[in-house]
Symmetry: C2
Subunit: 232 residues, 2 copies
């Protein structure tokens, strides 16, 4: 390998979750705990340096697990941030990911380099280390845009949910109310929600009220280029 | 800076252009020329290693200029590729960009690390170095998706164009025919094309046939959340 300049490379993961009790969109932050490091004691997006020959997404999941014990139901690469001066320690490039966690797995715990880990409402955030406010804003924009075309909201819900739960996810992410009838009609028109009614005793003849997501049916739709558009 | 593992970081730029004479979507590739380096003599996406404290997009534009003299009219970050083993030289992460070049600036010339640079039709590509086939496929997918919601096609045209030129851009990128009347009605409905008729002698009373893009008007629309959707 020729002797080119080598920057340091980190992965950072913006994790969203839904606090169903208050209908708020939350983001998982850690308090930087390693003594003597940059921004010690500051709140930040979980993340850290990649290891030798480590895949980027593998590194993102590892850092998230080490610092918060969170296991995302969805993860995608967001963007890579490399503005000169973004890290006081030197030339550090961050490959950022966006992840979602189901609202019944919100229990997290700070560990490793993280003195503390907790969920923050996206509307009331603390000051963040590095350029993490910019990374978080980019992730929020991506989520709000993505939810209009893909059923990412389902990765914030438990595996079995009601249509009211699903509507609340969309309303929380988009920050606006949706018409209940219109929403239900659109959601059901794609044929990707199946009854999960066998999982509890229901009155016979009553329409199903508990659903689960049929990911295979959705993937077939996706291959045909159909978008999951339920909020317009 | 603590002594963490440091990978090498490159920027690679997938540049699309439109060969208007044959209505084909083209991609700019270089023949790797530095003797004794990996994939010497192979075709590849233009790119190279980032320099100390260099901004990522600045590095992408610099490498493109050095190797091909191309000046893109549009550039955006695509994704970052870091699969272990993607580069035989070691742990190399590539931050990939997608760029567009106007069809009246298609003249390029190999230089620096590039023995040769030329445009290839996206339908007839040579074998590519590294994981560049995957990067190119990702860029093509991004372009074809993006053109449905944003006026990126305009960055492939000269600054002054006819509606037929514009329709041909969309048809070439999407690989399908569009209804002329429907296309024109939709395109004009956004109010972002203005007459460029003063630039040549037109018959009085005839509707304008030469247009230019009013980027400010479009940006105002964008802030309102309006999408430039002309192909559905």
């Amino acid at each position: 390998m020729p002797n080119y300049h080598r920057p340091s490379v980190t992965v950072d993961v913006v994790v969203f979750g839904l606090d169903d009790s208050v209908g708020a969109l939350k983001v998982l932050l850690i308090k930087r705990g390693r003594p003597g490091t940059a921004f010690e004691g500051c709140w930040a997006i979980p993340g850290g340096f990649i290891e030798k020959d480590e895949d980027l997404e593998v590194a993102a999941r590892r850092e998230l697990r080490e610092e918060t014990h969170a296991e995302p139901s969805y993860i995608e690469q967001l963007a890579t941030f490399g503005r000169p001066g973004r890290d006081p320690r030197g030339h550090v490039i961050s490959v950022a990911y966006m992840a979602l966690v189901r609202c019944d797995s919100l229990v997290i715990q700070g560990d490793d380099d993280a003195k503390e880990a907790r969920w923050w409402s996206v509307d009331h955030l603390p000051d963040l280390a590095f350029d993490h406010a910019e990374i978080l804003a980019t992730a929020l924009k991506r989520l709000r845009n993505k939810v209009r075309w893909q059923p990412v909201g389902l990765d914030l819900l438990p595996l079995v949910f009601t249509l009211s739960d699903l509507q609340r996810v969309y309303e929380t992410i988009l920050g606006k109310s949706l018409d209940k009838r219109n929403f239900r009609r659109k959601v059901m028109s794609y044929g990707v929600l199946v009854s999960a009614e066998s999982m509890r005793v229901g009155s016979p003849g009553r329409p199903p009220s508990l659903f689960r997501f049929d990911r295979e049916a959705y993937e077939a739709l996706q291959e045909e280029g159909v978008e999951f558009e339920v909020t317009a």
